[in-house]
Symmetry: D2
Subunit: 367 residues, 4 copies
Amino acid sequence: MAGNSIGQLFRVTTFGESHGPAIGGIVDGCPPGLTITAEELQLELDRRKPGTSRYTTARREADEVKILSGVFEGISTGCSIGLLIENTDQRSQDYSKIKEVFRPGHADYTYWHKFGIRDYRGGGRSSARETAIRVAAGAIAKKYLREKFGVEIRGYLAQLGPVAVEQVQWDQVDQNPFFCPDPSKLEALDSYMRELKKAGDSVGARVNVVASKVPVGLGEPVFDRLDADIAHAMMSINAVKAVEIGDGFAVVEQQGSTHRDELTPAGFSANHAGGVLGGISSGQDIRVSIALKPTSSISIPGKSINLQGEPVDMLTKGRHDPCVGIRAVPIAEAMLAIVLMDHLLRHRAQNADVVCTTPDIARLQDE
Amino acid sequence: MAGNSIGQLFRVTTFGESHGPAIGGIVDGCPPGLTITAEELQLELDRRKPGTSRYTTARREADEVKILSGVFEGISTGCSIGLLIENTDQRSQDYSKIKEVFRPGHADYTYWHKFGIRDYRGGGRSSARETAIRVAAGAIAKKYLREKFGVEIRGYLAQLGPVAVEQVQWDQVDQNPFFCPDPSKLEALDSYMRELKKAGDSVGARVNVVASKVPVGLGEPVFDRLDADIAHAMMSINAVKAVEIGDGFAVVEQQGSTHRDELTPAGFSANHAGGVLGGISSGQDIRVSIALKPTSSISIPGKSINLQGEPVDMLTKGRHDPCVGIRAVPIAEAMLAIVLMDHLLRHRAQNADVVCTTPDIARLQDE
Amino acid sequence: MAGNSIGQLFRVTTFGESHGPAIGGIVDGCPPGLTITAEELQLELDRRKPGTSRYTTARREADEVKILSGVFEGISTGCSIGLLIENTDQRSQDYSKIKEVFRPGHADYTYWHKFGIRDYRGGGRSSARETAIRVAAGAIAKKYLREKFGVEIRGYLAQLGPVAVEQVQWDQVDQNPFFCPDPSKLEALDSYMRELKKAGDSVGARVNVVASKVPVGLGEPVFDRLDADIAHAMMSINAVKAVEIGDGFAVVEQQGSTHRDELTPAGFSANHAGGVLGGISSGQDIRVSIALKPTSSISIPGKSINLQGEPVDMLTKGRHDPCVGIRAVPIAEAMLAIVLMDHLLRHRAQNADVVCTTPDIARLQDE
Amino acid sequence: MAGNSIGQLFRVTTFGESHGPAIGGIVDGCPPGLTITAEELQLELDRRKPGTSRYTTARREADEVKILSGVFEGISTGCSIGLLIENTDQRSQDYSKIKEVFRPGHADYTYWHKFGIRDYRGGGRSSARETAIRVAAGAIAKKYLREKFGVEIRGYLAQLGPVAVEQVQWDQVDQNPFFCPDPSKLEALDSYMRELKKAGDSVGARVNVVASKVPVGLGEPVFDRLDADIAHAMMSINAVKAVEIGDGFAVVEQQGSTHRDELTPAGFSANHAGGVLGGISSGQDIRVSIALKPTSSISIPGKSINLQGEPVDMLTKGRHDPCVGIRAVPIAEAMLAIVLMDHLLRHRAQNADVVCTTPDIARLQDE
């Protein structure tokens, strides 16, 4: 059933397959009055774009986004925004060999059982190609949040295989093809990736995303908690297998006296919670961490079955990212932006009348 | 805005505060023809019920559920099912001291900023008390899934502070007050909890949930992936800070040649994926792991502020679980059941016509 | 599937059957800070209550509503509001005769085919008994709209069988058991109803509802137009077969030069549109008219079939309204209030930043 | 907020303005396995297309629809279907004069107040141009319903101003530019329209739509009744001011003994209900009637105000339909198809297990 939408009030709906003529989407619920240009969306898209370094897929896509509606003379009108990106470097012939077999670790087997038909070209709808539209939609959310509330959403590669970053220098993230915030790790990353490529294998990664200056109060009791919706959005990204908010799994071994973030007139004593208390933003940084599995499309032969259930040996060809986690950084940022935007609208729908005189201590802390 | 519902087709909506007269909920979308008795729901509720061991809160609630509609002569009618549990052991006077202050690590501060008013009695709506209705609703989903498809949903405590289980004996889980599947760990758990109580502190935990014999094909591209909806449901449980599907964060250091589960006519070679490929169930066991933070209600004094933003020292009284993770086991099972039930209905809505002759290899493997 | 909810942001979900132990509902999304008492809700419920005049069903229900959550010390908290009304005068034995047969004009046949089971007692879920909860929920919406924006929502019986009202004196509506605004018609109504009862028959009715001082701007392009959502809400009331906005069916014979309401600095020249232009409120009175069919439960024998499909002669006993349209007045008001409330929240979610300096001419006109 | 979607499981989301580069939409939830070609969609689009007769707008649009996703080798895959129609005959200069003023009877005033900005070119998003995508989406629903269940959805012009049809010859509807089923009225229609055009005025219309062989059981208690969702869908069409199901407003003067449709083993005795009982389809013909107002864009000068609230005289130029009701026939059919399709999916999601041995008497009657 209809599962191609995310968000309640800021709702993004997408379509498109890896090797179809185009991918696209509709952003519904964007407030009117926001300056939006295709160029701005393009900046974010270019960060995700394939073919930009030797560490990512060789597929070359201009990923040129067109805004077809909802923006009039450069300003959002409040009406639905149509987005379109034409596919330009699809090579369907690469995929004809996998028509009859299921690539291990991919959605081939499950799509086939679910739908009884599948567009086998590059994974069809299950390809991460669709995330380009998420990035474009997220760029709209990001801009609104930044302009109206000063919210800053930033991500980085925190670990790739055995190489974990040790420091976060935000200004470094966009200076290298890994979105790596720790310049001392660039060499290790480069050599690891060279070895990996030589071996024809792939590797997993951890990506961290942080949203700063988020207004206090976003998130809805009890099911649509902000952290629950973040978890949903992050896990909806291809290859993501785990999500943490704040200290995440480290809380298992923590005691309450350690974990609880005390409050003082000057701010919170710490941020173990990751900016969410009771499912509602506290005004502190929202800290999210996700794990992305290694792509299953590798040059090492593997066992599988064909449509008849017979055993086959298979070798996945085509052009693939050896670490899909790298390009996931802008995608994760986009998803966090979409969730925050949606919750901002949800919050003010119900709570427009609220007057709270208690100081916003996280904001005090920021200043 | 309206955030008290979960599910699209099997939709659970709840109400109720910790110290109000009652909590309740509506299960909308239950298929007709299912035998449902209050007694069956009660069995699940009794597993979650407070006051049953010295390791959980001393609050005593009968947690007696009434079915007010949607079931006629013991059979579900397809109409909305009203559920009600009266609160019997609320002691609001315990909480009057916290009226003017925010308990660290709780939702007090965020609810206050969001709504400008809060029911301070025991956390009001932010209390885990509301999860009782989730368990009752989940019992309905569990039963349907088991009766119609043989799906089995089971959870256990995997780790409590430093004590991690080393083996899973399913028949042991309900034999001890910890939902611990490893009898060799019971002593360690008991002594750890005694020390903890003495110290007046609390501790985090890890809970694992497994769904077996799930039909292949559940989950919707691209946002309403099964794993995304599971992550949402799990993170919506009070105190949960992290969710993993399958190998979870371990994938960060895995290579594709290790992670990908190969397919053979006799079944999958492994289950690193945790039963979900491309967001759709593969028929393998769905493996979910969650982290629950230590409750912030402890007997150790902490710093906070009051409604005026002035510093206060505070000591949380009241009756609390020193490890909320223990009683989370039946809650996590319930949430997984609700998500699977919802996706089962969603799947068959769209795909009722699908005929797939490729063998269901996970089912073969099970047999 | 889950169809027992209405509204996106101000969402009402209900449960309960005509002869079950209770009916109830959840109001999700009510803004915090609103004074709400059970007594206020009761005032609206008493207007709808059965057994209050000889023109309505003899069933006597106290219809006493309890607020179980979401209101703390008399003020709404922003959390979900649980509502409960116990059924006190159910007499299920009255209905055992219809267990095996389908009452013509009722939902018996369709529920049976849809669900394969039905609570035959008084129509079960299909009974208009559930509308009591709509009235309680609507009372909350009404109050908010009135307090914050001065919106006034009022309805009346416009026609009953052949008796059509000719003038609207608002202060008369609650002075008679017909909700009739035209005192000159009371005698005709009384005598018509006496004859009808003698004949054992029932009759249809037209009910008009008007909302005044509605803020300009409510309604969403393009599917969730305000008038579309009003039509949905009205048609969801039992027995409603038609809905008009503004001039309604009269527009078929109108020309554009007549229909279009011109704008002047002092206000609109007319209100043929019924307060909605392009699906968005114009600030003028929202005028809605609905038709309610005669109840099919009459004392005149009719033909039907039984569960086996065999012909039967049947006579509907039980206690029924000879004109369900009468008691529909407060229900229609409630539904209009719920829709306006929902759209008010939706509007301000997206458009909180909008500054419009063009005068609100409808408001000028009101003053 | 997000209001550009309709349907829960078969969900259509649209974008696009009258004079933007393109309009488009996404159909989410279409079952897999359905043969769909752009040519088939085009057949329906051509029925709605402007510029085809002297009775409709002179704007010439090819209305050529492209399918961008969700269909693989001519078969639906179950994934979201992207639809795109480029605007080719937009002439924005026609509209620059109305930039500063509000056309009476149009959405100009309400959009301006709601959003603080408006795309004034041809009404922007409020233009009926967006209905082209509804027709394309409806064609998909229509085809599925016809292929799988034999459902036939047909509409016609029932009245135009004073000219009402007196007989329905289905085979005549597509033989004339009025969608008129009564050949004896064609001359009257033609001469009326000529006079109207000469006068520079416009006129309202009534359109009827009938769905035959609808499966019994579609519709959900209690808010998402089939008739309620039909009313919503119909009222969401531009210019619609009223909706009737079955006998509609005629029920006001009916008695129960007349209105109730008796059941016999050979079928229903009549169809006053219009195919819906208790909000659920009975298997009889679903009969819907709608009223469309005369377009407000006429050549007769009218009064209005400008953005500053000052009085202006205005004359609407541009190319307009003198009776928007004519081209509404295929749109109304499409909306009915979308609603039925959505409810078909919703029904089988929950009720897949139901076995009902009571004969489907409406189906018997059909055969």
